[in-house]
Amino acid sequence: MVSEDYRVMWQELGMDLDKHDEFLAPVPQLYHDLFLAQGNRPASMEYFDFVMSEVHGLRVKELVEFKQAGGFVAGTFCVYVPDELVLAAGGAVIGLCAGAQYPIPAAEKILPRSTCPLIKASLGFRLERICPYAQVSDFLVGETTCDGKKKMWEIMNDYGPTYVMELPQRKDEVDRELWQAEVRRFKDYVEGQSGRAITPDTLAGAIRLVNEKRRALQRLYDCRKHDPAPISGKDVLLISQLAFFDDPQRFVAQTINLCQELEGRIERGEGVVPAGTPRILVTGTPMPLPHWKLHHIIETSGAVVVCEETCTGTRYFETLVADDASTLDAQLEAVAGRAMQINCACFTPNDGRINDILRLVREYRADGVIYYNLQFCQTYSIEHYLVEKALQQAGVPVLHIESDFSEEDTAQLATRVQAFLEMLG
């Protein structure tokens, strides 16, 4: 039941309540079928179930109160954008990437249909006024990771201030310098928005906090390296998605709590699936909330997802910011340096990603790789050719799947995933 307080809050945030109701209506049933109905779930998932059940309620209320107490909220769309600077200036960061089909028809009134669904959904939420996080954000931060996003920000800016960071496309010295300058420019912007200066102390605190969050996620992922896997891929995907929304401190504590339970399972040799269940590594484009389709198909076809080489996976947490710098200048350099170690298909060349995938296949003992990209995502869909070649040379079976947030192709995808699993034998 939605409390009346939330409806008042949503109204004050300028949301379209009727559409919001319609959008949320199927979620409890879907969540039950996909998550709660799983067998043998870790008890500590209860916290994340609660966060999910309150995803448009309690967490939004916290942010509204945070703003009333003088804070501000930045909405971001990419793991390259440094959360640390927003936190150091006394703000909160929310990852706004959208993974829902609902707002796409609205976006298609403006954007070409042949645009990546993530871009369409992100703008669509803004147009339909059904995402409380977009509504509560004081400003949005875009970046130039692809042509579609780059042009979409210009339209998004009509619906709220949208700051754009220029991400280089190569990782040479001149590119690193550009990104350093962009990080410094962003610092000035954030300071201007908040009216608060970022100091070496506040930035050190923010670097520590975000690193802690990354370490907690790494520890969670480390648990999945064991056979039998102690937790389903779907549950970990959900946690990764919630990492973009939840209060970082509380999220860290609860994730560590879950890790302790999982480490107990590992010690006792217990798994969420039997030992020997086929282990799948998923690589490709992000799966923002509530895009659970592929994981659900894989895990209801007799396999378990053990790792995601995606922005809602290892790319989000594997690289830390060096925390030994003492001057603001050196800290900013460290913050910028982290991003330049993340291997996204928007860079050329991008051999680092191939090396990451080969390493992750070994670390997580994956039997096969499913290369997933959203429809119309050129960089990832073209890069598939090189990744597949490298994996085949290494003797790792790989399946390429291109899809979107809709449910129409579920049966066809299930056939492909099941045939792939039959092939793994």
């Binding site: 429809q375 291109e402 066809q412 056939t415 492909r416 045939a419 039959e422 092939m423």
Partner: protein, 252 residues
């Protein structure tokens, strides 16, 4: 051991009764209920083979409707079944190309009829049986009774999108382009799309062409031209998936 394979596709349901070889087979339109179609086609295949349903030791279901079959002991995807069926029908086969109602597939076969790799069309009907059907509809033709265009110069269809191709064909008719050239162009477009799909798997050799569309001689010729290779067509290309299912059933 007496076994059966049922392949419930988007357009037709097929069943094969098997014991060392094909005893008999049947085909039924799938209609609105894949479960009903599966039950019906199995009963008919059993009756024509002269066996009672309770004599069938194992049943394997495949095709898009496989999950609805309550008479199957196991379900297996059509990819694995095509590989098994084709390497039984034509033991030399290294690749199956299947143009089905809602998707087309290329399957690379390893020893023992195992799947080495496969490719399927993405979220789009272009190059599938549905594409052919929709476009034939706009020509007032039926897949079952097609005139053979012979060796005419195929018209170039710029688009292999189902929706665009339909309007393109209407445009060609308005320009009074002869029907046989349009038909030949249509087969060529599908064949080229399918050859590109097969090419994703690397080496294309010793191809077996299956699915309902494989029965159309002009389509066979177009595929041979697009691949630049001879193509084998089994006696009954429609039932290769069901045959593979019956073979897998005999190893359960």
């Amino acid at each position: 051991m007496l076994t059966a394979g049922i392949d419930v596709g988007s357009t037709a349901a097929k069943a094969v009764i098997f014991e060392g070889g094909i005893l008999n087979w049947a085909v039924e339109p799938t209609g609105w209920s894949p479960r009903e179609a599966g039950r019906k086609v199995l009963a008919r295949a059993a009756a024509t083979a002269g066996v009672r349903p309770d004599q069938i030791a194992r049943v394997v279901g495949t095709g898009y409707g496989r999950m609805t079959l309550d008479c199957a002991d196991k379900v297996v995807t059509e990819i694995s079944c095509l590989a098994r069926g084709a390497s039984f029908a034509l033991p030399d086969t290294r690749m199956v190309i299947d143009i089905g109602g809602q998707d087309s597939k290329a399957v690379l076969i390893e020893s023992g009829g195992r799947v080495g790799n496969f490719a399927m069309n993405d979220k789009c009907a272009a190059g599938t049986g549905r594409f052919l059907q929709v476009t034939l509809n706009s020509l007032g033709l039926d897949l079952g009774a097609l005139p053979d265009p012979g060796d005419v110069e195929p018209v170039r269809l710029n688009s292999t999108c189902t929706v665009f191709a339909e309007s393109e064909v209407i445009g060609l008719l308005a320009r009074e382009v002869p029907l046989d050239r349009i038909l030949a162009g249509l087969f060529k477009a599908i064949a080229e799309r399918t050859a590109a799909l097969a090419g994703r798997l690397g080496a294309v050799e010793r191809v077996t062409f299956t699915g309902g569309v494989a029965r159309v001689p002009a389509m066979q010729r177009a595929l041979v031209r697009a691949l630049g290779l001879p193509v084998a067509v089994p006696e009954e290309p429609l039932i290769i998936g069901a045959l593979g299912a019956a073979l897998i059933a005999s190893t359960l």
